[in-house]
């Protein structure tokens, strides 16, 4: 290990943020950390836009007759919420933003393996997003984020523009994943064996496999949809002998693994955050690493559970239902190992840890309700109800987004060199936890009673639940708003962060905060096992001596 002076800041030191300036030093940069920061800002903006649509939805549903929109407009609003949140925010959020920031440093590498491709991927993300935003000129798309045929073939809204945008976003995601796979294989520092890699790297690696192997099928699906609208090929239209269910097969072949593109990196963040803030090696390190790969592989075998009521054959239904339960095994392995890691740990309830704890509670609820939905007979009743809405928000928003926040809080001092207010971070974290649960717990109840999703109006008997949900959404929004404020404040007037703010032992903390351009002052050589916190004690002792 390079012995970095932990508490001796060098104020005039050149780091990756101040080494050059100007527009092109950012938009032409090949530095993974700058690209990661730009992704962080971009995806956060997308999250805020998607969140705005969510607030509009919740406000509209305050009254059972609907408060704000015509039903058609309501369809457009929830579609935009889904498209922004899924394709523009969650898919790139953790891999592209946090992965770019932290992964090369964690491996002891000076940069990702293919820096130019990394920049290309960021540009593709921007271009794809521009397509989606510009499509609003022709009126917002109203098909739902799933673009099911035959409706998406006939909707009068700009499906082509949005479809093309998502196609491009898909390639951005593919190139990010490809880059991380190559980086993990070829850029590890001497001594960094596979089983010395932090679990965040393992999770990003498993995610990258999914990005590379699943996303092309989304690409061809959207291409066929665009062809359908441009050239009327009829492949997915029953009127012309096509099969709309085939579209759903194609779509979910990607979009089910995509669910794990969202949650796997979140699990990686949580593994690292919990280990650092409980000051204990991750319990069952190898099992957690393997379970990431297991989740990635199983995710390709279960997509049909999104189509339980779509007219698949009974055989396919049973096969998919059966296979779905297997996802529970590696997920549970992770949860038990996290709890085992915390057990008897030396827990510091720092802000990242608070978010990680929120994640644990929310993910268990989200995961277990998923088991119910995987049960064929029960799903016939719950399909396309608010129960499903609540379930996937528990996983996508409550787990992935909260883990994303945990990761941002964890690595913020490292990559901005500034600290945020711990107090306000904890207040915001608590508000987000309370607001989130208040929003989505009532939706489980409504859903189990049969409240269908995507309806602009509903029966009066659910008004109380909907209002509780709306209030929760605003509490959540206040928490997120608070978070934005103290992060911006931290950039302007935050205290200087220490090189190793939390006492972590992964390599990215082994350099000053913010790190120099190529991450390390001296090429690292790894001689210790991962999460071996005894080195910190040794370091402190050698300092005293």
């Amino acid at each position: 290990m390079t012995a970095t002076a932990v508490n001796v800041p060098t104020p005039t030191a050149k780091h990756y943020l101040n080494i050059s300036s100007g527009f092109w030093s950012w938009f032409g940069t090949l530095d993974h950390k700058r690209i990661g920061l730009m992704y962080l800002i971009g995806t956060t903006l997308a999250f805020l836009v998607g969140g705005l649509f969510a607030l509009l939805i919740r406000t509209h549903l305050w009254e059972h007759t609907g408060m704000l929109f015509e039903p058609g407009t309501y369809n457009q609003v929830f579609t935009l919420h889904g498209v922004f949140m899924v394709f523009v925010f969650i898919i790139p959020a953790i891999p592209a933003a946090l992965g770019n920031l932290a992964l090369p440093g964690m491996l002891g590498a000076p940069d990702v393996a293919l820096p130019r491709l990394n920049l290309v991927s960021f540009y593709l993300w921007m271009i794809g997003t521009v397509f989606i935003v510009v499509s609003l000129v022709w009126g917002a798309v109203d098909t739902g984020w799933t673009f099911y045929t035959p409706y998406s073939a006939q909707s009068a809204t700009p499906v082509i523009a949005v479809g093309t945008g998502i196609f491009i976003l898909g390639f951005s995601s593919i190139f990010t994943g490809l880059n991380f796979i190559v980086t993990t294989h070829k850029m590890r520092a001497p001594g960094m064996t596979w089983f010395r890699m932090p679990l965040f790297v393992w999770a990003i690696y498993a995610t990258a496999l999914l990005q590379v192997l699943a996303t092309p099928v989304l690409g061809i699906t959207l291409l066929l949809l665009v062809f359908e609208r441009l050239y009327h090929i009829g492949i997915f239209l029953p009127e012309f002998g096509g099969d709309a269910v085939l579209f759903q097969h194609f779509f979910w072949f990607y979009s089910h693994p995509a669910v794990y593109i969202m949650i796997l990196p979140a699990m990686g963040v949580i593994s690292d955050v919990i280990s650092v803030h409980a000051r204990k090696p991750v319990f069952g390190y190898r099992m957690v690493a393997y379970s990431s790969l297991a989740i990635a592989i199983i995710s390709f075998l279960v997509w049909g559970h999104h189509m339980f009521t779509s007219g698949q054959s009974e055989f396919a239904l049973m096969a998919f239902s059966f296979l779905t339960f297997f996802v529970g095994i590696p997920s549970a392995i992770k949860v038990f190992n996290w709890v085992g890691t915390i057990w008897k740990g030396s827990i510091a309830m720092n802000a990242p840890m608070l978010y990680a704890m929120s994640f644990l509670i929310i993910f268990v609820i989200g995961g277990l309700t998923g088991i119910f939905l995987g049960a064929l007979s029960l799903d016939i009743h719950l399909h396309d109800t608010y129960y499903v809405v609540a379930h996937f928000h528990y996983v996508m928003m409550g787990s992935t987004a909260v883990a994303f926040f945990a990761g941002v809080h964890h690595w913020w001092p490292k990559f901005t060199g500034k600290m945020y207010s711990e107090f306000w971070a904890k207040v915001a974290g608590t508000l987000i936890f309370i607001g989130f649960n208040a929003t989505f717990l009532p939706q489980f109840v409504m859903g189990s009673q049969g409240m269908p999703r995507r309806y602009a109006t509903y029966l009066e008997k659910w008004e109380g639940y909907h209002q509780a949900s709306t209030i929760g959404a605003f509490v959540l929004a206040i928490g997120v708003g608070m978070m934005i404020v103290y992060f911006v404040h931290s950039l302007i007037a935050g205290e200087k962060a220490k090189a190793n703010q939390w006492g972590a032992v992964t390599l990215e903390w082994d350099s000053p905060s913010p790190p120099p351009l190529y991450n390390f002052e001296k090429d690292p050589v790894v001689t210790r096992e991962v999460y071996d916190y005894s080195v910190l004690t040794h370091k402190a002792e050698s300092h005293r001596a």
């Binding site: 029953p238 097969h249 054959s313």
Partner: protein, 118 residues
């Protein structure tokens, strides 16, 4: 420092000849009816051709295990897509035959209600 394999011109030529002969075989066997095995026979020959191109033209024979693993895994995952979609399609209506009834099909004319110019 950096050793990489240079294929011999003779080997490459032999592979080309093999590929052209296999193309002739492809056409020839398409004239023979193997019943249900027709698709299997055609694909079997195509896979041989694929292997020849990959092993010698694309140098997989001398490439790293990782590269071989990744390209093979793309075929494995693709076969999952084939497997499940075919499993669904080929068992539709096994318990409830009404499920196989098809919507009335139109030919050629694309109704104006389905046309949209966005």
């Amino acid at each position: 420092m950096h050793v990489s394999h240079v294929s011999s011109a003779g080997t490459l030529l032999k592979v080309l000849v093999a590929l052209l002969i296999l193309t002739i075989i492809t056409v020839a066997v398409s004239r023979v009816d193997f019943g249900g095995a027709n698709l299997f026979v055609a694909m079997f020959i195509a896979v041989i051709k694929l292997s020849l191109v990959m092993i010698w033209f694309m140098h997989l024979k001398h490439d790293t295990a990782t590269n071989i693993l990744f390209i093979l895994s793309s075929f494995v995952f693709l076969s999952l897509l084939f497997l499940f979609t075919i499993a669904d399609w080929s068992t539709r209506g096994d318990t409830d035959p009404t499920l196989t009834q098809r919507a009335p099909v139109t030919q050629g004319v694309y109704p104006s209600s389905l046309r949209s110019d966005h």
